[in-house]
C-alpha cells in the first residue's frame, strides 16, 4: 500500500524537478532577452566605469603583465597550469587590485613591493581589455 503511494509520489516529484529545471532554463532565456535597464551590469561592465582608461595605461599594463604575470597565467592570459584564465573577469577593479597587491593565500604572491598603485591600475586596465 505504502509502496504504491511512494511510487506515485516519486513520479510527481520527478515531474516537479524536471518542470522546475525546465522552467528555470526558459526563465534564463527570457531574462537574457530582457532590457538591460532592469538587470545589474556585469562586474566587468561596472568596473570599467570606475576609472578613466587611456591607451598608454593599457600598454603599460601589458608590459607589467609580460614581466610578472604571464609565466603563471600564460602569454595570452588564457590560463596555464599555475594560474587561471584572466579574460572577462567578473570581479571589480578594486578586487583585482587587492589580489595583485596582497596576493591570494597559497595561490598567488603579493606584488605590493614591485608595483605602486598607479602601476597596478595600469595592470588592471590591461586585464579589462581581455575578452
Amino acid at each position: 500500500m505504502n509502496t504504491s503511494i511512494e511510487v506515485s509520489a516519486l513520479r510527481s516529484s520527478l515531474l516537479a524537478a524536471l518542470l522546475s529545471l525546465g522552467g528555470t532554463g526558459l526563465a534564463a532565456i527570457a531574462i537574457q532577452a530582457l532590457p538591460g535597464s532592469i538587470l545589474p551590469p556585469t562586474y566587468s561592465e561596472a568596473s570599467l566605469s570606475e576609472t578613466v582608461v587611456t591607451p598608454e595605461m593599457v600598454a603599460k599594463g601589458q608590459e607589467y603583465y609580460g614581466m610578472s604575470c604571464s609565466h603563471c597565467h600564460g602569454d595570452d592570459a588564457t590560463g596555464d597550469d599555475d594560474g587561471p584564465n584572466l579574460h572577462d573577469l567578473r570581479i571589480s577593479n578594486a578586487r583585482i587590485a587587492v589580489a595583485i597587491k596582497k596576493g591570494i593565500k597559497d595561490q598567488m604572491p603579493t606584488f605590493a613591493k614591485k608595483y605602486n598603485d598607479a602601476q597596478i591600475k595600469a595592470l588592471v586596465s590591461y586585464l579589462r581589455t581581455l575578452r
Binding site: N2, A9, S13, S20, L21, A27, P40
Partner: protein
C-alpha cells in the same frame, strides 16, 4: 528605471542561505529521527521537523535561483568559479524540489525502504547544496 538593478545581487544574498540551511537541517533531523529509538516520542518530532524543513527548503530554492539568474543576466553555466557553483546548484535544485514534493505527497505513509532511499538522496542533496554555497563564497571572495 522601474527596478533598481542592484536589487538582484542583494536578493540573491538574502535568499540563498535559507534553502542551503534548510536542506542541511532536514538531513540532520531526518537522519537523527531515522536512528532514534522507535519507542521515543522524539523520533516523531524529529521526522516532523524534517518534513517541514525539506518542504520549506524546496520552496526557498525558487527565489534563490531566480534572483541568481537575474543577477547573472540569465547565465546558466558560466566559467571558473561560477561554473563550479552552477555544477552544484542545478542538480541540488532539481533534487531538492523533487524531495520536497515527494515528502509532501508521501507524508507519514512511507516504508522503511522508501525512507532509507529518501534519506540517502537527502544527504547527497545537502552535500550538493554545501558545494554550491562553497563555490558561491569563492565567487565573492577569491575569483
Amino acid at each position: 528605471m522601474l527596478i533598481d538593478p542592484s536589487i538582484w545581487p542583494k536578493m540573491h544574498g538574502a535568499s540563498v542561505h535559507f534553502p542551503v540551511a534548510l536542506a542541511m537541517a532536514a538531513a540532520l533531523f531526518d537522519g537523527l529521527g531515522f536512528f532514534w529509538p522507535v519507542s521515543s516520542p522524539r523520533k516523531v518530532q524529529l521526522h516532523s521537523a524534517g518534513y517541514f524543513t525539506i518542504i520549506l527548503g524546496a520552496l526557498g530554492t525558487f527565489p534563490a535561483v531566480l534572483s541568481g539568474l537575474f543577477m547573472t543576466k540569465g547565465v546558466v553555466l558560466g566559467h571558473d568559479a561560477l561554473l563550479f557553483h552552477h555544477l552544484f546548484v542545478w542538480p541540488a535544485f532539481g533534487l531538492l524540489v523533487g524531495l520536497g514534493v515527494w515528502r509532501a505527497l508521501v507524508g507519514d505513509k512511507v516504508s522503511f525502504r522508501g525512507f532509507t532511499a529518501y534519506l540517502v538522496v537527502l544527504f547527497l542533496t545537502a552535500g550538493l547544496m554545501g558545494g554550491a554555497g562553497y563555490w558561491g563564497g569563492e565567487l565573492i571572495l577569491n575569483s
